[in-house]
């Protein structure tokens, strides 16, 4: 039971269409932003993000099935065995056959779920063979991204802080009088989900993240990537992703880290490989040590690919 796991075909699809159909309907696919009235997890946008999504749907289906049986039996009992209907209490307190069944059947169901989950865990743990490394550092209350290497070549001087965008930050102040509904980016509400500088990464590339923190524990979570990983001072955690579709994927810090824990979002901008390479070259050029002064101001102005709020 050490391999196995979820791959998009076969039994799982049958289970899904049967039990998770209604949920899949609400879930949609590869959404970048949470939606009003959203009921379920989304499929996500990376190679691995289908694992938690399908596992969630299968486990939910199993629970709903067992729930219908158990609660159904309870309601039948409550209707049939009421004193007001003249029911007379029976005396039995054992039924060996039943007890064996309701001990072994759950064990079989659990083994099935464990088999699927183990496969997902194993594939998640394999961070080898990555083509790119990004170091993520959590700070109170912002993220720092450092590009470490890309396609076997080390990257120098590409790294930046990424913090809550200014409009959200002004709106979120107590008694600001500003309307959270008015915080829009490209027609979507991005209140508390937008940053000044997103993490830009290529699609179709296995990216290894090394994740740590500078002060307290944070947790780096982009739901569309399918996982979160704690950023812990003194410890470097590793995780990986391979984003399949270009898009802007938003997330938030997921570990309580102080007063502005709710205000340090994460934005990952996944772009085609060529566009990424262009962006990276620009960043490297802009950040290369220059003889003259006044680098920061010009660097800000000459990076068109940075912010995404227009």
């Amino acid at each position: 039971m050490t391999s196995g796991g979820i791959k998009p075909h076969g039994i799982k699809r049958a289970v899904l269409s049967g039990l998770g159909g209604a949920l899949a309907l609400f879930g949609g696919s590869a959404m970048a932003n949470p939606k009003p009235w959203q009921l379920n997890m989304t499929r996500g946008a990376s190679e691995w993000s289908s694992v938690p999504y399908h596992l969630n749907n299968i486990a939910l289906g199993v629970c709903v099935g067992i729930g219908i049986l158990v609660f159904g039996a309870m309601f039948i009992a409550m209707f049939r065995f009421r004193k007001s209907r003249g029911a007379v209490a029976e005396k039995w307190t054992h039924n060996t056959m039943l007890e064996v069944v309701w001990t072994t059947v759950p064990v079989i169901i659990l083994i099935t779920l464990a088999y699927l989950a183990t496969g997902g865990l194993t594939s998640f743990a394999n961070t080898t063979g990555s083509q790119m490394t990004v170091k993520v550092t959590g700070y109170q209350w912002k993220w720092r991204y450092d590009y470490v290497d890309y396609k076997g070549k080390p990257i120098d001087h590409v790294g930046f802080m990424s913090k809550l965008d200014r409009l959200s930050d002004e709106t979120r102040q107590l008694d600001s009088g500003m309307d959270p509904n008015a915080v829009q980016t490209d027609g979507e509400n991005t209140y508390l989900l937008n940053v000044d500088k997103p993490l830009v990464v290529p699609v179709g590339t296995k990216i290894r993240f090394v994740i740590t923190a500078g002060d307290v524990i944070h947790s780096w979570w982009v739901p569309a990537l399918g996982w979160k990983m704690d950023a812990i001072p003194g410890i470097v955690n590793a995780a990986w992703t391979n984003i399949e579709k270009p898009g802007v994927y938003r997330g938030q810090c997921a570990e309580l880290c102080g007063q502005d824990h709710g205000f340090m979002p994460i934005v990952v901008k996944a772009v085609p490989e060529a566009e990424f390479e262009q962006w990276l070259a620009q960043q490297q050029a802009a950040n290369a040590p220059k003889p003259a002064a006044a680098a920061p101001a010009t660097a800000q102005a000459t990076t068109p690919a940075q912010g995404n709020q227009g």
Binding site: T93, W102, L110, F124, D179, I217, S219, I235, E255, G262
Partner: protein, 537 residues
């Protein structure tokens, strides 16, 4: 019968008439039980008021009421007060009142220690709650107190000492319960003839003794890290922040079961009474509780799937956690089987017990989903988790405490509570608690992290629904207070000794209200009188 024996004696020495002597110097298990229960009720409302602040701030996007730091103080204090101040003392109060009555003992084994273990609690909570008014503010790093964050805030010393006091109180209470159950059972009350509630408390008491010192150790290390320059959890000094989480959850997971095992016991008393049928699978019930207690020691890291555990650890803790579904499932199936073929009536305690079985099971389902580590990478630290543990703690533990209160209240006060208002309380509670917590599953799945004071507008709809449910669930509990006040002082309707037609067990053989002293002469045990019926076959 025992009945007659107690009648002869109790008139000679009743409760002391002096208020101070009676309540502050009490060594009587019934009075101390009452003190615990009243204390728990007060804490339930204090903790509940913090929850109202949280839900009010989350009513709509944007910050309207409180600053984020104060919001964090509220979430932290809400959890600490509800766990250590409301749920745990309520179960200790129920144990104090009922265990001696259920096993035919005249009192707890260690009555003076019983007094001490209660009277530590008000001081512990005075210390903890005073931090709300202190310069540094209340603890705001979450009830789990993870370093380094917990060490940044003020009031670390008050929080640590308050936890030490609560731990001392819990350990003394547990020693007392174990000593009482093992030494003071009436002749013929064999261990495997004890009511399931007594069994559940015996096992819970061992859990408490095992893990409260672990919590004390963890918070003491926080204290020395903060004030004495040690670096247990400080990476810069060679320590490890994750070590704290391992130690904390080695306490924390058994702690979760400390809050639910006595609830299993309560429900196992109530359902047979109102189904008028002996409990299904008595021994299976006891062994299920024992195996859940054992498993609780080897699953702690399922709270830490996202800290970057090695693959082997993730797999082990995932399997061990999933295993808990088996004994828990057995319990639920047994409760349903107890109802099947019975002759049921639906008084308020039974309504709460049935709601417990359904809603606790829903909490168990989400627990199973959370156990699947890859899915937990998404669920972890979202509102899905908040929904999960409120289903098991509010509709689980708290509903069982309310059920137990309605069930034994006539025995305590000698008067019947108002069935109409009891049912009003039930229907309001069960509807609004679901309006409160069910939408939180959706919020979590859609990606809303927990412990945030403000959120994207996509989460607005369900948060508003949840807040409305929260306010109304909170308000519904005022009905409970009204019912209690009426039952203690106002009700004209005298309770019979048996109270419920189907009630079995020694506690129903003493008069209502239970006299100040009971079972001064050990009762004669008649196996037919035991709630679970004949145990030999």
């Amino acid at each position: 019968m025992a009945h007659a024996a107690t009648h002869d004696h109790h008139d000679h020495h009743g409760a002391p008439s002096n208020f101070f002597v009676r309540w502050c110097m009490s060594t009587n298990h019934k009075d101390i039980g009452t003190l615990y229960l009243v204390f728990a009720l007060v804490m339930f409302f204090i903790g509940g008021s913090f929850a109202m602040v949280i839900r009010a701030e989350l009513f709509k996007p944007g910050l309207q009421l409180v600053q984020p730091y104060f919001f964090n103080e509220m979430t932290t204090m809400h959890a600490l007060v509800m766990i250590f101040g409301a749920v745990m003392p309520a179960f200790v109060g129920l144990g104090n009142w009922m265990i001696p009555l259920m096993i035919g003992a005249p009192d707890m084994a260690l009555p003076r220690m019983n007094n001490l273990s209660f009277w530590i609690m008000p001081f512990a909570f005075a210390l903890l709650l005073s931090t709300l008014f202190s310069a540094g503010g209340a603890p705001a790093g979450g009830w789990t107190m993870y370093p380094p964050l917990a060490l940044q805030g003020g009031s670390v010393a008050q929080m640590v000492f308050a936890i030490h006091l609560m731990g001392i109180s819990s350990i003394m209470g547990s020693i007392n319960i174990i000593a009482t159950i093992l030494n003071m059972r009436a002749p013929g009350m064999d261990l495997l003839k004890m009511p399931v509630f007594v069994w559940s408390w015996l096992i819970t008491a061992f859990l408490l003794i095992a893990v409260m010192p672990v919590l004390a150790g963890a918070v003491t290390m926080l204290l020395t890290d903060k004030y004495f320059g040690t670096s247990f959890f400080n990476a810069a000094g060679g320590g490890d922040p994750v070590l704290y989480q391992h130690i904390f959850w080695f306490f924390g997971h058994p702690e979760v079961y400390i809050m639910i095992l006595p609830a299993f016991g309560v429900i196992s008393e109530i359902i047979p009474t109102f189904a008028r049928k002996p409990i299904f699978g008595y021994k299976a019930m006891v062994f299920a509780i024992a195996s859940i207690a054992f498993l609780s020691f080897i699953v702690w890291a399922h709270h830490m799937f996202a800290v970057g555990l090695p693959l082997g650890a993730e797999v082990f803790f995932m399997y061990a956690t999933m295993l808990i579904a088996v004994p828990t499932g057995v319990k639920v199936f047994n409760w349903v089987s107890t109802m099947w073929g019975g002759s049921m009536t639906f008084e308020t305690p039974m309504l709460f017990a049935i709601a417990f079985v359904i809603l606790f099971t829903i909490g168990g389902f989400s627990g199973l989903m959370l156990a699947l580590a890859p899915a937990d990478f998404q669920y972890h630290d979202t509102y899905f988790v908040v929904a999960h543990f409120h289903y098991v703690l509010v509709t689980g533990a708290v509903f069982s405490i309310i059920a137990a209160t309605y069930y034994w209240l006539p025995k305590w006060t000698g008067r019947m509570y108002s069935e109409f208002w009891g049912k009003m309380h039930f229907w309001n509670s069960v509807i609004w608690v679901n309006v409160l917590f069910f939408p939180q599953h959706f919020l979590g799945l859609a990606g809303m992290p927990r412990r945030i004071p403000d959120y994207n507008v996509a989460f607005a709809n369900f948060n508003m629904i949840s807040s409305i449910g929260g306010f109304l669930f909170g308000a519904s509990q005022l009905i409970f207070v009204g019912v209690l006040i009426h039952a203690v002082w106002g009700s004209k309707k005298k309770a019979t000794d048996r109270v419920w037609e189907g009630a079995k067990g020694l506690e129903w053989t003493v008069p209502s209200p239970a006299p100040f002293h009971t079972f001064e002469v050990p009762p004669v045990i008649n196996d037919d009188e035991l709630a679970h019926g004949h145990v030999d076959h």
